[in-house]
Subunit: 157 residues, 2 copies
């Protein structure tokens, strides 16, 4: 088991874009309602099945296994709950940390969030000028939550 420890921020503006190359991610959730999420993801030419435990203080148990792309695509078409998550993921190094910027499309456009993976939740990290509000503990921004309640529908009854 790995531990996923990360902080998450909203992204302001486009200053992170120059030189950033993205990979298309298509993912969906086979389960996302008991604190445990089960995710099928196609990222470029590869696919994974990922289990995440409940979140606690920015940290989650995480198990990830490569699976055939055809299996993942079938799961996305046949078995997923809520909406499919479609996004471009960019990896942008900044001051010794690697930032992952997710630019959502479809029902979650125009949301753009940045995550930084840490060894400890209280690890010191220099924030790039293009990050804004921290949303680490706002559960609406988890991808599992965005599948159930996409960003474009927030604020509607």
């Amino acid at each position: 088991m790995a531990k996923e420890i990360e902080r998450k921020f909203l992204v302001n503006g486009d200053d992170w874009r120059p030189g950033a190359q993205g990979i298309a991610y298509h993912q969906g959730y086979l389960a996302a309602n008991t604190g445990i999420t089960v995710r099928a993801r196609v990222a470029g030419e590869q696919a994974w099945l990922t289990i995440k435990g409940p979140s606690s203080a920015g940290s989650r148990d995480e198990y990830e296994y490569p699976i055939p792309v055809a299996d993942a695509q079938e799961m996305l078409e046949r078995l997923c709950i809520g909406e499919r998550i479609e996004k471009i993921r960019y990896r942008v190094p900044y001051a010794g940390h690697l930032w992952e910027i997710d630019e959502f499309s479809g029902e979650n456009a125009p949301l753009v969030v940045a995550e930084v993976e840490l060894d400890r939740i209280d690890e010191e990290v220099a924030l790039p000028p293009w990050v804004g509000l921290e949303v680490t503990y706002d559960r609406r921004y988890t991808n599992g939550a965005l599948a159930r309640q996409p960003f474009s529908r927030w604020g509607r009854p």
Copy 2:
């Protein structure tokens, strides 16, 4: 993706036991409440993660991946919902078909069920003398349901 097509019966008596060798199965469910089940299973020295789609006419989509035994054991301890399923599985050939007999222990004792896997749900199959009531369509007997509502508690409020 494989298709799981099977019929399931209650087992009467012990005439199936002579010569049958069993393997201990420990399994639990990371999800089992939207028609999709996600199962971690340790069987002897091996472990699997299995995704099953909703059941329709005795048939379910099924994806199964080998995972490290240590991962599966952690999932059983940390991430599973309901009770853990503990059973001995025996494989007993009969008249050209392989029957899997599950003898449950713990909260699901003294339940014993037999399953036969088929190529088609209407495939002709000779029933062994030790099978009784067919429960193929009784969802209480799925292992996912037995994890939530174990056999020993049936009939109690």
